[in-house]
Amino acid sequence: MSTTPVPVGILSTAHPHARAYADAVRAVDGATLVGVATDDGDPSPDAPVMPAADLLERVSGAVICSTNATHGMWVERAASAGVDVLCEKPLATSVAEASTIVRTCDEAGVRLGVAMPLRFSEPARRARAAVEGGEIGALRLIVGTNLLGRPGADWFFDPDEAGGGAVMDHTVHVVDLVRWITGREVTEVYAETATRFHDAAVEDVDLLSMTLDDGTPFTHDGSWCQPDNWDFWGDATLRLVGSEGIVEVDCFDQTLTVTRDGGDQPGIESVYWGSDVDEGLIRDFVEAVRDDRPPAVTGTAGVREVAVVEAAYGSVDEGAPVDVRYPPSRRR
């Protein structure tokens, strides 16, 4: 085991997760945060700011926290510098672009991961173990939610930068979780979308009714519908109904209830004290870079999850359920 910390940089700080990932890089043993390259003048993580070319010369791994539309550009730069990549989700705004990203990394010989922190949720891990252990029999119905209030940056409302609204932003976390827990792929998607909560050019209602490849119904609500004054940022939940029982997961239901009479934010707030999922994500990526192994969620998974998003938009266009069209899988 190497004693030299893995040098990590953050490419773009457009995505609000940049700050949490910077904190996680600092917190993880065996990693060091070299700096951030910003493209929007907002170096929110407290770290040295430097041009991307300089940063990429000094790091072995890069975490891309850009807008959805520029993931490909950043991956290209990192890959051509020989730097392994952890890319914010969704991997891209189309299957074609996501596939290009995977090919770029394959050809450059760099590792590619997609940021799916829920894989490192301890409640989700217990749920997966219960399902894998046969505790609830055969799966019969899955209902997920990944609700949010207002996204953390204005570009999420810009179709050019975000590639879409809540469907693009808040579908893939729970789809990834379900793929991981069940080992199944989504085969069909019916979507109900709407713009009901924000003055926006994109949809903020993301309600999907899907089937897995064994026929199990799977619905997911990823709407940006929670009030600004809600006591928490949102949620990530799954209810897995099996032939012999039910597993329910609420990934962030480990909170203190804090009520403040004064200060900047009077009112009730829930403060999370469960295990830090971002640290789990970054630790896995750092170990993948150090040990030259695939990260937990690879680009191939990222492509398949973007395919589900693409099918959801296809369903909206057709007003009917549509089959998910996966590109032929490539093997490394």
Binding site: V143, V205, S209
Partner: protein, 334 residues
Amino acid sequence: MLTVGLIGAGAMARVHAERVDAIDGVEITAVASPNTAASFADAHVPGAAVYSDVESLCEDRSVDVIDVCTPTHMHRDIVEVAAAAGCHVLCEKPIARTVAGAEAIAEAVADANVVFMVGHAIRFFPEYVEAKRLVDEGAIGEPGVVRARRSVSFGGERGWQGDERKSGGVLLDLAVHDLDYLRWVVGDVERVFTRISKWGDDGENHASTTTLRFENGAVGHVESTWMRLPTLPFTAAFELAGDEGLVEYDTGEVEPVAIRDADRVHVPTDPVGHDVPLARDGYRTQLDHFFDCVRGDEDPLVTVDDAIEALRLSLAAIESAETGLPVAVEEVGQ
């Protein structure tokens, strides 16, 4: 004194009998059921006359009200007999098994000019009433995404509910509660899309999920499950999200009294039992309201058209689950 003839001797008949017993000025004077009317009356309505069916009851004696607590597929014939006898009718949900049956009921009660209401009971459950009031007051602004779910478990014989020709399965017998409620809160529904899993002996376990598109553009989700898993507590929950707020409810988070001893952990959640700690539960409030309607003091909170629309929502969901396609609600039964 209002006199009531109770039709049926099952679980809902017991729920009604126990509550009517506490209402002043109303008395169940007769019970009709094919085989078990006498034993039911002995246990729950001592002194009531017993009959094998509604026809013999109505021929033999005069009652003001017929309270229909029978399997769904029998509602039509019973309501037609009761209305022809000039009785006001309270009928368990759903109104009927088919749109044709429901329309026949609507015609019969209109012709007889009697008070008629379908027992969409959760419209009287205080948590649901309060949430509706808050939405009407503008607490959440314009509704955007509304979700409701309901899960019940069973242990012994399934009886008529297990026969989909009689009950319509989970999408009619159970989902109709939440479909009616969301329509009451948000408005008419344009289309539904439903998926369902059935498994076990005779496909007795049902787990379903329905998406709704309301005419005002809001979107909804209804999850309804019944399964043979006696350890599973009754659960019901809803989240009503609008552009200015959110109302949430979950039976799993309501624990006003809990009893824990060596044998059990008991947290009352099942509204059909008497154990939910309310001075007057929703079933009692529903009965009080209906008797006020009979006296001419109030108008039925659930109109016959409401009950038919709730039925059509469930039938649309069943059709969608069978075809795999979204179904326009207004086309159901046309």
